[in-house]
């Protein structure tokens, strides 16, 4: 294993998240009850996704500046792991929502029509689809240099779409989802309890480090593959 201290740090942070995340005192919110602890898991998926997409974006710019194929490979793999985190965020959000947003006067199935109009969900879906298009576009081009250049440029566009669609537009509209027009409850020192922030920030770091670890493994695998092909 290579340069392993941050990998160990990531694992330790996650172990801390899993233990402290279930045991600490949390605010007693009548709607969320114990599900408020999902902050350490569901929300961290999205934070991890954003950080991985930022790395992917930076590597895309570095490729365009230097034309070194390593940056192209890295950009692609970070985007891939970012999409994985985004999908996990969506799935965990779907589970969480089914128990906290459901209208108790309607059946579960019938209350999905209001949930489907949530701006935050639509925005996140747009962002993920824009990045899914990045993978499709990339794999549809045969020429290696052209593929690297076009996908790097598209990556920059996709990143430019990311923040408006998951932060700016949902913030302008009313929503059941926290982080709508009322501000950001996870990062606002006034609304998240100090206790929860003790776990929340390490959790973001831990999940992100695991994501980076997976991405570096995939990058190294891709490099070996390319070398085999060129021999």
């Amino acid at each position: 294993m290579r340069k392993s201290w941050w990998k160990i740090l990531g694992v330790l942070l996650l172990v801390y998240t899993f233990i402290a995340g279930l045991l600490i005192e949390v605010p007693r919110n009548p709607q969320l009850q114990e599900t408020i602890r999902n902050l350490f898991f569901h929300v961290c998926m999205w934070f991890g996704m954003m950080i991985l997409f930022i790395v992917s974006f930076v590597r895309a710019i570095m490729y365009l500046r230097t034309n070194k194929p390593i940056h192209d490979i890295a950009s692609r793999q970070y985007a891939g792991v970012g999409i994985l985190f985004g999908l996990l965020g969506y799935l965990t959000g779907a589970i969480w929502m089914s128990y906290t947003w459901i209208d108790s006067n309607k059946s579960i199935f019938n209350s999905f029509d209001t949930i489907a109009r949530e701006p935050k969900l639509i925005g996140a879906a747009i962002a993920l689809l824009v990045y899914a298009a990045y993978l499709v576009l990339r794999d549809s081009i045969q020429d290696i240099d052209k593929r690297a250049r076009i996908s790097a440029v598209y990556n920059i566009f996709a990143f430019a779409m990311l923040f408006p669609s998951i932060w700016i537009i949902p913030r302008l509209l009313d929503s059941l989802h926290p982080g709508g027009s009322e501000g950001n409850p996870a990062l606002d020192p006034g609304s998240a309890s100090a206790n929860m922030r003790l776990v929340f920030y390490p959790a973001i770091a831990g999940w992100t480090l695991i994501g980076v670890w997976i991405a570096t493994l995939k990058i190294r695998m891709k490099i070996i593959q390319e070398q085999k092909l060129s021999q």
Partner: protein
């Protein structure tokens, strides 16, 4: 009506008493075993307290350990491939 019910009660009273005795014997047996277990035998009680939240933590840590082990093995294998090239 009352008499009818009384008659019926008398008819079934024998079997009822036997059934009651059996029930009492069985339930005292269960209570005794439970009480002795709870008092005399020291078990891993931490895992059973507080609504068994520790069991959930154990499950989650097991999954995390499995995933991390998988990543570590993959990392080692890739390092080997990198050395062999």
């Amino acid at each position: 009506m009352d008499r009818y019910i009384k008659d019926q009660d008398e008819n079934y009273s024998g079997t009822k008493i036997v059934a009651m005795k059996k029930l009492i014997a069985f339930s005292t047996f269960i209570i005794i075993t439970l009480v002795t277990r709870a008092q005399d035998v020291k078990m891993a009680d931490v895992m059973k307290e507080d609504g068994k939240i520790y069991v959930v933590i154990a499950v989650m840590l097991t999954i995390l350990a499995g995933l991390v082990l998988y990543l570590v093995r993959l990392d080692r294998k890739i390092s080997k491939l990198e050395k062999n090239k």
